[in-house]
């Protein structure tokens, strides 16, 4: 298509990249030292004129320093394409030279955060798998350049390109505002709340550290205990607090979903899924069929009523990549028809619906009860020693039914079935998850049996894939061994590449 972009010579990013790098650097610094800034603003009036001048000078110097640094990073960041390899030179003082073969490249993603949106450049991320090499992120390219770069890299990939120039087709899936609102209102709000708490705890710890450092811990402690003691004394406050918590949970779900999935659009092109989504940070991901290891289709009772579910695609991760950037791609708000279309795209001619479900042995339920028994025992003991009051055992009236409900649900929803090429594992308690895994994508397989399971002649099967484990718990030893042998047979005779 566009031959004006020449990648055979070393070249730099778009000049606007300096700004992106600069703001990125400043953002990082601000994130680490925001508390200093906070202190500074708080004590603004108490700082003498001369110190203030020094502080301004210091800040000015730092700003300049980071600008120079950003400029140097930009200057030294060069890349080219040669011999079906992407070659990257970077580093100001310690230089790194990276060369990645095209067939190692898993994904080329475009991303735009707010700043990149304003100055109209795209961030291009090149993801690799199976190697411990760092991921490559080019911070700023014009859309034309980015497109051309992607084209240049994918042109060699399996020799399918020519049609790609044809753009602007009808999206396969588009989730509008109302649909997204539906999705977010039916989210697992408890999870959202926990996520929010995790963020707040991190926040609190940072503040706590600061006060400790200033020797003013008591101040914070007394502030908190003052406020909590008021809370404890009033039932109305507690109820109010609970209602507030619920509202916060729902709001944070909505916020989270909209931030991540706003304007979700999916195209199907050349056997790949192109996914665009995001509010402040626009993400575009190309999901190649072959690179997907397994998918999970999930729903919950309310979503089921509305006929929507979400699909999680798992791609290969390399062992050294930290867990944060797990290559999980999620699309929400899929209708049943779309779900089955995606299934057909990824696993064509594999219809698992004709096969019977295999259920786990009843030992699975027994084990869950057994484990929960100990958990409940610990909860009870903990409660008792915390409050030293026999009334706390009354809480069991609430806890027990919840446990029983969850265990029975979990047991009922557990099943597995498989066709010639595909394994389907169903699980969940309140939510329902269906995981599809082609046998040949398994990396290694484990059979686990505890001494208790040995008595019942059941065992756990664990499939290790390049993107995590999939477990089938408590099935009869005979069946487990059959599947074990069959899986190995499938892997060892498979000619297809797993990524």
């Amino acid at each position: 298509m566009d031959n004006s972009e020449n990648f055979s010579q070393f070249r730099r990013q778009s000049k606007k990249g300096i700004l992106v790098i600069y703001i990125n650097l400043l953002y990082k610094v601000l994130k680490a030292f925001w508390i200093l800034l906070f202190l500074f603003i708080q004590r603004f009036s108490k700082i003498s004129e001369t110190t203030l001048t020094y502080i301004y000078l210091g800040v000015g110097f730092l700003l300049l320093f980071f600008f120079i640094r950003a400029f140097l990073i930009f200057k030294n960041f060069q890349f080219k394409i040669e011999n079906n390899h992407f070659i990257l030179k970077k580093g100001i003082i310690s230089k790194t030279n990276t060369s990645i073969s095209f067939d190692r490249i898993q994904n080329i993603n475009f991303k735009q955060n707010i700043i990149q949106q304003i100055i109209n450049v795209h961030e291009v991320n090149i993801e690799t798998a199976g190697s411990s090499k760092a991921e490559i992120s080019i911070k700023a390219l014009s859309f034309k350049e980015a497109k051309a770069l992607k084209q240049a890299i994918t042109i060699y990939d399996k020799k399918i390109t020519t049609e790609e120039a044809v753009l602007a087709e009808k999206p396969f899936l588009k989730v509008g505002f109302l649909a997204l609102l539906k999705v977010s209102l039916t989210e697992n709000h408890l999870q959202s709340l926990l996520l929010l708490f995790a963020i707040l705890v991190g926040f609190y710890q940072q503040i706590d550290e600061l006060f400790k450092g200033l020797g003013k811990r008591d101040l914070l402690d007394s502030f908190i205990s003052e406020n909590t003691s008021v809370l404890e004394s009033s039932v109305i406050l507690i109820v109010g607090f609970l209602i507030l918590l619920t509202i916060i949970a729902v709001l944070s779900s909505v916020f989270r979903i909209f931030l991540k999935h706003f304007n979700l659009t999916v195209y199907i092109k050349n056997n790949a899924l192109e996914i665009y989504q995001g509010l402040t940070t626009k993400n575009s991901v190309i999901l190649k069929k072959g690179k997907v290891q397994h998918i999970t289709i999930s729903s919950n009772p309310i979503k089921k009523k509305l006929g929507i579910s979400f699909i999680t695609f798992k791609q290969a991760i390399s062992g050294k990549v930290n867990k944060k950037q797990e290559k999980v791609i999620k699309i929400v708000g899929c209708k049943n028809k779309q779900v089955s279309e995606i299934k057909n795209l990824l696993f064509p001619e594999e219809n698992v619906t004709n096969y019977d479900k295999n259920l786990p042995d009843s030992y699975f339920r027994y084990r869950m009860y057994f484990r929960s028994f100990f958990l409940i025992l610990v909860i009870n003991l903990g409660l008792f020693f915390a409050f030293e009051n026999y009334y706390v055992f009354g809480l069991n009236a609430v806890i027990l039914p919840i446990f029983i409900l969850i265990i029975e649900k979990t047991y009922k929803k557990r099943y597995y079935l498989f066709s010639e090429e595909l394994l389907l594992v169903g699980q969940g308690s309140i939510e329902t998850h269906k995981t599809y895994l082609p046998f040949f994508k398994v990396q290694n397989i484990k059979l686990k049996q505890t001494i208790f399971q040995a008595r019942k002649n059941v065992a756990d099967l664990v499939f290790q894939t390049a993107s995590g484990k999939i477990k089938i718990p408590c099935i009869s030893m005979e069946k487990a061994l059959k599947i074990y042998n069959y899986t190995l047979f499938k892997i060892e005779t498979s000619q297809k590449s797993w990524m």
Partner: protein
């Protein structure tokens, strides 16, 4: 529940339960025992120190504490010795398997065409006995791949060579 497997089971597949597993080197038992005793020695020092300084007000139960310590030591050694016999491996034409455990039995198989790389390393005590550890890595979460401790370095090299040939070929 009908057995959906029957549909597919036209040919007989190589059966993992029918292959003969090899034991690892007998000498490795020494390594295990020395390692265990070393850990318990450290533990003994800790217990002795705790009793001597009377940190947890346990002085009056001194006798029972030492009895408990001995029981745990004997039990652990017993488990380790019995468990040693359960550590077995097998190399087939297309995969490598390892099994271990008494109370928690585990059998792992890694097909060669999924192996990323093979590593051989050696701890200080194992070195004294001329033994090595063979680790086979696959893609993904490598912490949970296959690891065979207590092989003669000659054998381990042979296996490594064998797998490397299979990967390249």
């Amino acid at each position: 529940m009908t057995n959906s497997f029957q549909n597919i089971l036209v040919t007989s597949f190589p059966d993992i339960s029918e292959i003969t597993f090899k034991n690892i080197e007998k000498k490795y038992l020494n390594v295990i025992i020395i390692n265990t005793i070393f850990i318990f020695l450290l533990l003994f020092i800790a217990v002795f120190f705790a009793v001597y300084k009377d940190i947890f007000n346990l002085k009056e139960y001194k006798f029972w504490l030492y009895v408990l310590y001995t029981v745990i030591l004997v039990f652990t050694l017993f488990i380790k010795i019995v468990g040693f016999k359960k550590r077995k491996f097998a190399v087939r034409e297309k995969d490598i398997s390892y099994k271990n455990g008494i109370f928690f039995k585990k059998l792992t198989t890694v097909p060669f065409n999924r192996v990323q790389h093979v590593e051989i390393d050696q701890g200080p005590i194992a070195r004294f006995f001329g033994l090595v550890t063979l680790s086979v890595f696959t893609a993904g979460d490598s912490s949970d791949d296959l690891k065979i401790r207590g092989l003669l370095s000659k054998n381990a090299l042979e296996i490594k060579e064998f797998i490397s040939n299979k990967i390249d070929g």
